[in-house]
Symmetry: C2
DNA sequence: CCTACCGATCGGTAGG
DNA sequence: CCTACCGATCGGTAGG
């Protein structure tokens, strides 16, 4: 079966995301990645100039995927509580999905290997993402559903969410939806 | 100044913890570590048989330090709320202290480079540590201060706590004590 | 703990 | 995208 170039590039990015997530960027070799997509060891360089460029692609794509998903949830409308719940679910679904989890893990744990220029790009995207959450918290406070909508609250929430990557296993005790609901229940005042 | 051996070994462990935390285990070279403690490149092997043994030392010592600190806080007695607050503070202080933060970051991000035997040792220590928290949550529920003391609650809490490593900066807006108090306020029902 | 060194591996490239 | 390869670096060791 003959694959066209864009698909091959995407295959490399996906394989790299899995390997970077599992072994770490530094411990992953080009040969590992090549083997994972059935290429010879020099061939990935036909698609990427350097190993670092592969990391950059994985990290920025991961950030884009999650921003798009949570942004869509935020744009759907509804009460502050409904919007927040939809964002929680969207974030967790991207983080824990079969596909998304490797992008997320690389994003969360390997970004410090980026060079300053790439890091600046990432931070720009990250700022936009965080603004989505800060606005959601502001609306929750206006609605009287939370007491504190500060930056620290947002960071503690992000911690609880992002840490799920470390322990969540599909086919474990709870579904993603149940976890989202539990967080919502812990943070927000009871309905009614 | 002549240093005796135990001190030199401890110096290596401390330097390794900082480098592992900053650059990652795989990207840190023995030469980096040797330079950090003013040795020649082959000399660290006089104190450790392999690079992996250095990681093992950092990770297990990090786990020991935090278990000791939080265990002491748990043993101090008081109401369920007082004990919990003391444990929160102890955990965060170890995680964010000048010394402890590098051990913590290595523990949290580089443990997957351990071999199965060392990983088993770590998990054993980790289980004991988690039991401390699970008991604290059980006591909080008995006291009617929280609704849910399940494993997922504990994991979400650990996420909020451990994520602080990513964003907390000394001389930033808040003290460690303030952050601990905020978490306590978010999670527990108001006093009185 | 230093000196001197080795074998293996790695990112990357030239030429096709 | 493969073949064949290079220079650099790395973990680790022997001998003192």
């Amino acid at each position: 079966m003959i694959k066209d170039e864009p698909n091959r590039r995407a295959e490399i990015v996906r394989a790299a995301s899995r390997l970077f997530a599992e072994k770490g960027y530094a411990a992953t070799t080009i040969r590992d990645i090549a083997r994972a997509v059935d290429m010879q060891s020099g061939s990935p360089f036909y698609h990427f100039k350097t190993k670092h460029d592969m990391l950059k692609a994985v990290v920025l794509e991961g950030m884009t995927i999650i921003t798009r998903a949570v942004g869509a949830a935020a744009a759907q409308g509804g009460t502050a509580r409904e919007v927040f719940d939809a964002m929680l679910l969207a974030h967790l679904e991207q983080l824990l999905a079969e596909d998304g989890r490797h992008f997320a893990a690389t994003l969360l744990h390997e970004s410090h290997h980026l060079d300053p220029a790439a890091l600046a790009e990432l931070i720009e995207q990250k700022d936009a993402y965080e603004a989505l959450w800060q606005k959601a918290l502001r609306d929750l406070k206006r609605s009287g559903v939370i007491e504190d909508d500060s930056r620290v609250t947002r960071l503690l929430l992000m911690g609880a969410l992002n840490w799920t990557v470390q322990w969540y296993r599909p086919n474990g005790g709870r579904t993603v939806k149940q976890i989202a609901r539990q967080i919502s229940g812990m943070l927000l005042k009871p309905v009614g």
